[in-house]
């Protein structure tokens, strides 16, 4: 047996505890919202039970005691339908908070003695439990096993004077120690006889969850000796022993089948492993390198193709390269897939938050979800949590009116806040929507003028959307009073800054009296994207394909048709829209532009532009390399509009990545907005 690494198990314990607490919290929310529900209580019970088991085995007695008492209460609820009341849900909430606190203490290695006193909670639970208790019986299901007739025959031959025993284990109590327990048991049994078969195969190599397993052993020892031996590791109720006759008769159902069903039913992530995110990031980095090399190979193969028709070695190489290309792309997609995470994983943390805020503000809130399955790169997902919390707080604190006021305006007294997510082309949109009072543009205008963020003249020219966007300017805050909820010093400007860091956007729409919708539009992933390579004055630039609608070749023949001049500004008429023309060489101060070349039509709907470049080289996958160390305010390069990062070309040289949004923004700032 290898030395047990306590820290490793502690980490595992903490991870599991987080999940268990989350499920428990969700369960109690649901009980509060929708009343008693056997399934929810069962789930709750199971989580409390697991947590109790793992805390017990790690020696965290406060957690074990508390969960033990929760378990008792839940059991009582189970057996006495109709006994749920607000006191109990409140008590359960308090317990979960306390458990969270205790869990923090475990993480910080704070000794048991310094834990908060949980005695009063335990007593309150006890009061409830002792009211009246029915005797409870746990259903004991007989489980038997079936082997193939051939296997039985072999076993019988082997048996002779020996005992053939099947040990079936059901470890539901101690979740994260399961595979270790299995290993221990197996190790002990090995000395006692011959292990004929295990389920699953290679039991000793299984890592992680292992709620059910069985060991078939041929031994000289008696059954009770074996039981004693196993009891050193596990409780007696955690395993069953069947003699050969039972197996032989095969009268009972196929235990294996049952186990298998249990496996798939118990947990959808049954066949999953936990991997440190850093390892995935490292993998992603390596895949990035591979993609660069792959592009290089593709480039080299173009040259070989032309020069070496007769050389068979070269031909063999040419046949291999497309396969490498294919593999690299598949690999990239697979790794990306590992990093994808459903947004539901952060959504489920919100019900509790919303409940607390609504209690504090005295508002009645119904929280709705949609699109929880929408997946997003894990790194991005982690970064949007805080902004979403802020948006939710805002929606409840500022958006939703007090119940009385809502009734006056003919709305249901209960306000609705919806968290929606969906995919839109290469973007993921997460929306926080409320049916509250909406944002009053007049108030924003007054406030913005007060704070000196805009001038009257500027306001005149702004459309509704731009006015709403003013709330994201630094220094803007409409909350009159600073309170615990929204006035935490984190304003909408921080939300916007955080989202823009992720290459995303924040869109606001609101109708006075009818609610507000704030959308966070995010890229699917950040690391590797498809891009169009273009050339200008001897330098190559990459433009992410997601930002491009079309490329149009411009030559002497169609020049006048495509490029027009309106009020001394060059524009392009594209699909009945008049959009500004930006010549890359002029924008980047590279010198005079040219009459022939290519127009890259890009941007987002409503904010489009055409960029004139000398040449289009082609599409390719690019690995985004951050220039964040050097690019930006107070850094070596300063702020450079229009450049978002860099990538490495097939030939090993660097190409800069163009930021279409940035070019457009900087262009607009220059007062060069185009009117129709």
């Amino acid at each position: 047996m290898e030395k047990i690494d306590f820290e490793k198990f502690k980490k595992l314990f903490l991870q599991e505890a987080d999940e268990q607490l989350e499920v428990m919290e969700k369960a109690v929310m649901e009980l509060e919202e929708n009343g008693e529900n056997r399934k929810v209580i069962d789930e709750f019970f199971r989580m409390a039970h697991s947590l109790k088991g793992s805390a017990g085995s790690m020696g965290y007695s406060a957690i074990a005691d508390l969960t033990h008492q929760m378990e008792n209460v839940l059991d009582k609820l189970r057996n006495n339908p109709g006994s749920l009341n607000d006191d109990i849900t409140d008590l359960l909430f308090i317990s979960i908070d306390t458990l969270k606190h205790l869990r923090e203490n475990v993480e910080k290695d704070i000794p048991e003695e310094e834990n908060p006193d949980i005695q009063h909670i335990l007593e309150r639970f006890q009061d409830f439990i002792s009211i009246e208790t029915d005797g409870k019986k746990k259903a004991n299901v007989e489980k038997k096993i079936q082997l193939t007739s051939q296997e039985l025959k072999n076993l019988k031959e082997k048996a002779g004077e020996n005992n053939v025993l099947l040990l079936c284990f059901e470890l539901i109590q101690q979740q994260e120690m399961q595979s270790m327990m299995a290993f221990l048991v197996l190790n002990n049994l090995k000395d006692e006889g011959e292990i004929v078969k295990t389920f699953p195969h290679h039991l000793e190599e299984v890592e992680g969850d292992l709620p059910y397993f069985s060991i078939l052993i041929c031994t000289e020892k008696k059954e009770e000796d074996l039981v004693k031996l196993v009891e050193q590791t596990l409780d007696r109720e955690e395993f069953k022993v069947f003699p050969l006759e039972d197996i032989e008769q095969g009268k009972a159902s196929d235990y294996f089948q049952e186990i298998k069903e249990n496996f798939s039913r118990r947990d959808e992530s049954r066949d999953s492993i936990r991997v440190d995110i850093e390892k995935v990031d490292q993998l992603m980095k390596l895949v990035g390198e591979l993609v660069i090399d792959k592009e290089r190979l593709l480039e080299i193969s173009k040259n070989i193709k032309a020069n070496s028709r007769e050389n068979s070695e070269a031909q063999a190489l040419l046949q291999t390269i497309p396969h490498v290309d294919f593999i690299a792309t598949e690999l990239h997609e697979s790794v990306m897939d590992i990093r994808m995470y459903p947004v539901g994983s952060i959504f489920k943390r919100f019900p509790r938050l919303v409940r607390d805020i609504s209690k504090q503000t005295g508002k009645d809130i119904h929280l709705e979800f949609s699109g929880e399955d929408t997946e997003l790169d894990r790194t991005i997902l982690q970064e949007v949590f805080d902004p979403l919390v802020h948006l939710l707080r805002n929606a409840i604190d500022h958006g939703i009116e007090a119940p009385s006021q809502r009734e006056k305006s003919g709305k249901p007294s209960r306000g609705t806040v919806a968290l929606n997510a969906w995919q839109e082309e290469n973007n993921i949109v997460i929306e926080v929507k409320d049916d509250g009072a909406g944002i009053d543009p007049e108030k924003i205008k007054t406030r913005a003028l007060e704070k000196g963020l805009v001038t009257e003249a500027q306001l005149e020219e702004m459309d509704q959307e731009s006015i709403l966007e003013l709330i994201m300017e630094p220094g803007f805050s409409t909350s009159e009073t600073v309170n615990d909820l929204s006035g935490r010093g984190v304003g909408m400007d921080v939300v916007r800054t955080n989202i823009e860091k992720l290459d995303g956007e924040v869109e606001i729409s609101s109708e006075k009296g009818n609610g507000t919708s704030i959308k966070i539009v995010l890229p699917l992933t950040l690391a590797i994207v498809q891009a169009l390579m273009v050339r200008e004055k001897g330098n190559d630039y990459a433009i992410p394909l997601s930002a491009i609608f079309e490329t149009i070749a411009v030559n002497g023949q169609n020049y006048k048709e495509v490029i027009k001049t309106v009020k001394n500004r060059e524009v392009v008429v594209w699909r009945d829209q008049v959009i500004p023309l930006i010549r890359l060489s002029e924008f980047f101060l590279l010198g005079d532009s040219h009459q022939e070349g290519f127009l890259i039509i890009g941007g987002v709907k409503g904010r489009m532009m055409a960029i004139m470049v000398e040449a289009v080289i082609g599409e390719q996958e690019i690995v985004i390399k951050s220039l964040g160390d050097f690019l930006g305010k107070d850094k070596l390069f300063g702020e450079i509009p229009g450049i978002s990062g860099a990538t490495i070309k097939g030939n090993g040289e660097v190409a800069l990545i163009l930021d279409i949004q940035g070019i457009l923004k900087s262009f607009k700032k220059g007062g060069e907005a185009i009117e129709r």
Partner: protein, 157 residues
């Protein structure tokens, strides 16, 4: 008594040194394809690919506002590491690695060199030679206001 090793190089006729512990490698300018970064400060020559990392190249003469005639054959890029970031500095010629007692490095007097004393951490006097020891941190500090205006006024190249 402590010793210090300096990588010494020439820039516009003066001899400079950088603590060898800061130097990551030295490359020939000719070997590298530098990618121009538009609208960056003038002293930024561009960016290069250093084994998968994209790092900036700074023209040290321009950074110090020195007149210099480049002889591409001898021009080198000294890649330094500062706060976990790699940065390349172009110099006219790399001389040698000089081992000296750290005692001989004196505080920089005012007006010793053509360059701003902000960039200098000390002066090493060694066998009639005067080596100006550079403060890498300050060289790589953010672009200053004046330079922004300069770039903006530069107009088209």
């Amino acid at each position: 008594m402590g010793q210090i090793q300096l990588v010494t190089f020439e820039l516009s006729g003066e001899e400079y040194g950088i603590d060898i512990l800061k130097v990551h490698e030295i490359k020939r300018l000719k070997e590298i394809g530098i990618t121009y970064v538009p609208r960056a400060p003038e002293f930024v020559e561009g960016v290069i690919n250093l084994r998968g990392d994209v790092i900036p190249i700074i023209d040290l003469a321009k950074r110090f506002e020195l007149e210099t005639e480049k002889n591409e054959k001898e021009t080198r890029i000294i890649v330094v590491k500062q706060e976990e970031k790699y940065i390349g500095l172009t110099v006219d010629r790399v001389n040698e690695v000089l081992t000296i007692d750290s005692e001989v490095i004196e505080d920089p007097p005012q007006e010793i060199s053509q360059i701003n004393s902000f960039y200098i951490s000390g002066i090493a006097k060694y066998e009639e030679r005067l080596v100006i020891v550079l403060d890498i941190g300050n060289i790589l500090s953010p672009r200053e206001e004046e330079e922004i205006t300069k770039t903006a006024g530069k107009g088209r190249k």
